[in-house]
Amino acid sequence: MTPLQRPAARPLPQIFAIPIVLGVVSAIGLAAALVGDDMWDAIGWIGLGIPLAVTAWYARPK
């Protein structure tokens, strides 16, 4: 049996830290690909690719 230890509740900034970073990165990606080509498109791919990579990492079969 694992000991029934209640983990401490996290403050809001901690809960939302990663979602906010991913949101900002996504928004930069969405906008960058729109304002330019070539390098700007690449920024777009990276910006929207990061949330995908994060998803793949956490949802990977364990």
Binding site: I15, P19, S26, L30, D41, L48, P51
Partner: protein
């Protein structure tokens, strides 16, 4: 957060999601192949390729282009002449039974932009992508269908916002991305729902809301017709459609001379929804990636070819025009399309898991509870 506040937001999240989920699933599933509609059409349907010419080859006189098309459309009338954004060698001519007939059922003719040779008249209405497109845009129900789907999109945005609020109490004791694989199926899917929802908040909100804006396209066009277009047309309002029209090539040259820093995107013929009964409207686009999405109409008197007016389009049209690429994901090459598709699939999983969580929680006593107790007991034992 107070338990009462959480309950209220749960109620908002549950009902906004439940009402829109079936339609959002339809939109995500039909939208997935539509991201690649050009590639699918190219693959499924033969089309006559335009002549490959060296860069800098001058384009043919537009009057010859139109004549080549109209030779294959006896008894019909040109309504729009459209430059293919993705293939500068091709010009589309959109024809209808009457100059002022509604344009939804127009035939499209493809013409070589350099040789002015007629290429083919693809049967768009027989294409798989056409059915997917109609389902996606208006459920084959015209404006009411569009507005209905737009309302579902608004509910989807409400579901995202309430989901963000509920994310806080749900993740109070968990690290970001925790997926409790060893607990019950319900808990595992709750964790996945939270993870996949959290990473797609911004993308899903942007694609969802720009989709809503796109459902208002018909209304935006009407607003523009009654507003700016009427002002620009002035005393020409209600003039008959001219029997003999001036050269369309000349009209484009006049428009290009007025806006030398822009490129023609399409021409609306007199009598169509995008211009008056007396004018060619040459819609010019900018030359940077961003401004190439924005349009500026130049009205040319179709009887004598003289310039009437040009104005920057109002904010509500610009908003619609900019919301299009942000919804379609067609502005960053194939990699962006693939990213769009993957994010769309994630959204499908968020919708599906949300539905599953609702169903599983509805009958918690009879089946889920003993099962989950059993699984967690097994997990602890192993």
């Amino acid at each position: 957060m107070h338990a009462k506040t959480i309950r209220r937001w749960s109620w908002v999240h549950k009902w906004s999601s439940l009402v829109c989920t079936a339609f959002m699933l339809l939109l995500c599933i039909t939208g997935l192949p539509l991201i690649f509609h050009e590639e699918i059409d190219d693959h499924l349907h033969e089309s006559v390729p335009a002549a490959q010419v060296p860069a800098g080859t001058p384009t043919a006189n537009l009057d010859r282009v139109v004549a080549a098309g109209m030779a294959h459309a006896p008894g019909e009338y040109p309504q729009f002449l459209i430059w293919d954004r993705d293939d500068p060698n091709v010009v589309f001519l959109s024809v209808a039974k009457a100059p002022d007939a509604p344009s939804e059922n127009n035939r499209a003719l493809r013409i070589d932009a350099h040789t002015a040779q007629f290429l083919d008249a693809p049967d768009m209405f027989g294409h798989l992508t056409y059915y997917l497109f109609k389902l996606h845009v208006d459920l084959f129900a015209g404006l009411p269908g569009k507005l209905f789907l737009g309302f579902m999109g608004l509910l989807f945005v409400v579901a995202i916002i309430s989901g963000v609020v509920l994310y806080a109490p749900s993740m109070r004791k968990l690290d970001f991305g925790t997926v409790r694989n060893k607990r019950s199926r319900l808990i595992r899917w709750l964790d996945l729902h939270n993870l996949l929802g959290a990473v797609t908040i911004v993308w899903a909100t942007v694609v969802g809301f720009t989709g809503v804006i796109n459902t208002w396209a018909d209304l935006v066009l009407k607003m523009w017709q009654y507003g700016q277009l009427t002002e620009m047309v002035g005393p020409f309002k209600g003039a008959p459609i001219p029997q003999r029209m001036v050269s369309v090539h000349q009209a484009v040259e006049t428009a290009t001379a007025k806006l030398p820093d822009m490129t023609p995107s399409f021409i609306a013929y007199p009598g169509t929804a995008f211009t008056s009964t007396a004018h060619y409207a040459v819609f010019m686009r900018g030359n940077t990636p961003l401004t190439s999405r924005l349009l500026q109409p130049v009205l040319i008197d179709a009887r004598d070819g003289s310039f009437t007016d040009t104005r920057t389009m109002p904010w509500y049209v610009q908003t619609l025009l900019l919301s299009q690429p942000l919804h379609f994901g067609d502005y960053g090459g194939m990699p962006l399309k693939i990213i769009w598709a993957l994010l769309d699939v994630i959204t499908i999983v968020v919708l599906g898991s949300g539905l599953y969580l609702w169903l599983a929680r509805r009958n918690p006593v009879r089946k889920t509870a003993p099962a989950s107790v059993a699984t967690s007991a097994k997990a602890t034992a192993s």
